[in-house]
């Protein structure tokens, strides 16, 4: 199909769908409405379980199944990317190019920034049930912090501090821990992924029952997963060359 035909077809579809969508949003409740029935229930439920961050309560307690599956999606993507980006026949590992190095000043600043980044990441994970943030956001910050080693220094530095199978294990084990906590709820008879731990007092560090635990599990899983994921991309871009490259 030629480019023009394709664009015209898309245009026709859009011309049908845009007015339909317009009619639909004209019938939606006004923006900023005060009526949110699910919200009323969810906030009450979060307060009952002493979880100050209602979003975390929904993610890890009320609708914990969604988050378990979300972690599983991450796991599947990481394993998938590992498979897709594996070195195939005809690929060779090569030495890093000499220019692949950052400025000394940048390295210095990064060394200063790195510990702070890791601390902030930990804080975001640990306080996820109280303040904005949680396992996912904190885990990504942790993984990003680690990659300052590559960004501000040399790839070898990162490789040395990154035994990949550790990260792969930590991802697998903590996803399993999430599922295991869920099964634990089943075993106590309270139900799958039930919040069976003592809820503690509102807005305390030790409150929310299983929510902080699940937050930490997700934090570890995400940090491990993102490190493994980026490792595949870094390896492909920096280390792996195809034998065919030379021949064009």
């Amino acid at each position: 199909m030629s480019r023009t035909v394709r664009l015209v077809m898309f245009g026709v579809a859009a011309a049908v769908l845009a007015p339909l969508f317009g009619l639909a949003i004209a019938g939606a409740p006004p923006f900023g409405t005060a009526s949110h029935p699910y919200r009323d229930l969810a906030v009450a439920a979060a307060l009952r379980n002493a979880t100050a961050n209602v979003v975390s309560s929904i993610n890890f307690d009320q609708r914990g199944l969604d988050t378990l599956v979300e972690e599983t999606i991450l796991l599947a993507s990481v394993v998938g990317a590992t498979i897709v980006l594996r070195a195939s026949t005809g690929d060779v590992r090569r030495e890093l190019a000499g220019d692949d190095r950052a400025l000394a000043a940048v390295t210095l600043v990064s060394v200063a920034v790195l510990p702070g980044t890791l601390l902030i990441g930990l804080d975001v994970v640990v306080h996820g049930h109280l303040t904005p943030g949680g396992g996912f956001q904190g885990g990504v910050v942790l993984a990003t912090g680690l990659h300052l080693l590559y960004l501000a220094s040399r790839y070898e530095t990162l490789e040395r501090l990154r035994p990949l199978h550790w990260y792969r294990w930590s991802e697998g084990l903590s996803t399993a821990a999430f599922g295991g906590i869920g099964v634990g709820g089943l075993a106590t008879g309270a139900g799958f992924l039930a919040n069976v731990l003592p809820h503690g007092s509102f807005a305390d560090l030790l409150s929310g029952g299983t929510v902080p635990l699940l937050n930490i599990a997700v934090g570890v899983a995400v940090a491990g997963g993102v490190v493994v994921l980026l490792a595949q991309f870094l390896d492909q871009a920096l280390r792996i060359a195809s034998e065919r490259d030379g021949k064009g």
């Binding site: 339909l20 949003i25 699910y38 199944l65 999606i73 498979i83 697998g172 295991g180």
Partner: protein, 608 residues
Amino acid sequence: MSRSALAPLAVVAPILAACVVLVAGRRAPRLVIDVLATATAAGVAATTGFLAASTLGGRAVTWSGGWSPVGGRSVGVVLVADPLGAGLACLAGLLTAVAMLYSWRYLASLQAHYHTLVLLFLAGLVGFALTGDLFNMFVFFELMGAAAYALTALRIEEPDSVQGGLTFAVINSLGAYLSLMGVGLIYARTGELGLARIGRALGGQRADALVIVAFVLVVTGFLVKAAVAPMHFWLADAHAVAPAPICVLMSGVMVELGVYAVARVYTTAFAGVLPGGVLRTALLVPGLLTVTVGSGMCLIQRHIKRLLAYSTIAHTGLFVVAFAVLTPGSVAGAALYVLGHAGIKGALFLVTGLLLDRFGSVDERDLFGRGSRRDPGGWFFLAGGVALAGAPPLGPGIGKAVAEDAAGRAGYPWLVAAFVVGSAVTGGAVLRAGLRVFLGLGHPPQPPASETQGSGEQPETPSLVRAVPRTMLAAIVLLLLAGALPGVVPPLWVAAGRAARMFLDRTGYAGQTLDAAPPTPVAPLPGLGWTTTGVVLGLVSVTLAVAVALLGVYRPRRAGWRGPVRSPAPVELLHRLHSGHVGDYVAWLFLGVAVVGALIAVPLLAGR
């Protein structure tokens, strides 16, 4: 532990097993991994099979997190196992177990990563079949997707494989995002995510533009998954390049789950607001188009896996048509049809996989006469073709017969033609390929220039195999038996009838889910099974299929409609439309949404 613990266990068990495989994968011997993965899948099949049987007396409702509803409302996510959903989950478990059996010592270079992904895929399939929550459906949809994209592109040395995987991923993801827009819109109206809750909130309302658009968007992702024309393009590209055991899962249950999801969302959430007549038209039009395009493309393929993929498209079209009739009989027919189709189509894919492993090609022309008459695979392939055409008394045949009967009773006797022609043409195409490859009948086909050939592919085993391993053969036999079984086990028909009645019972679903109401007993559907008309129509299909096959094999060399020089214009056009271009497919996807949207919106909104 009560029955309600089984549904979450069936979802979480494969996830936990996948984590174990991932962590232990490098140390443990391959045999342990194989056994663990196969056993997990079999365990899931047993659990969900038990659920399917036991829920005939009433659904098993599980509120995750123990958030049982108070006054009919809850903040939790609900898993609702009913016979049809649990049955599909069981089918997913069975197919995965067989696929793992076939993959025994297979794709060795991937180590345990392959098993991890297949187990995660299984978790996605099972969860998608069991969930009773709209957003949870989206999440499981994405899990199925993420695993399936990677599994499709498993053989990264194949140029077609990575391209097919990418196309699959882009189109399916876009479909999922459109679905999520729909979820957002329906949440704006009702403030609910549970299917039963949405059903209650919408019941008795006027079908205004918001509800219509929300419904159309929500089902878009599922229609894409179900490969309903014109959103079907990705399927052939993906199925043709995925490893054979993965094709078994994708063709046998993943695509069917798309149809199931459309049906589930409609019957539980939207049936009270969107009239059945409007939905019927909106599904029959694309459904019949799917049958036409699928069987037409199937007939003109020489790449055997692509041929099977297009036959899956045609059959999915038939499932959509069967559901669109919207009677218990038609739903029961579709359910039986899906069971039979899964076994037979799976076996056909696996035999084709064996061809690839032995000859390094899945090209009908390349393989011409190379399969031996003593090769059991050849006879399996031919038997599969006959079964696919709807031969009594096998699985696809009973499904087809029951669906035809239901269509006739519902006042759509002309739909019978779609069932007969669709199954005859696809069965005939399979037979033609089998006759040529395994019996060497006729002469090699002459291709037009612009099509995917399928020769020169890498085999999936480490090297070309000479003797077929027993595990692979066992997997094929198991699938053929599973595909034949639904046709000869009357209790299964009774169960399908009751399952269909429960499936269409919106009030019963909501009552059991939200109010913990006692289950309303469902009576069996009378007259469900082989009828004289059904047997005759089945025989007609088989005869037609044989005729199609023989015509393909022995047709005169020059005067054919797909002669060596040029194909006639419609065939050429059909070929050209399936361009493999991601941008084209996106444009088609939006056109499809627009068509379905117009089919629902115009009759409902124009009158006002």
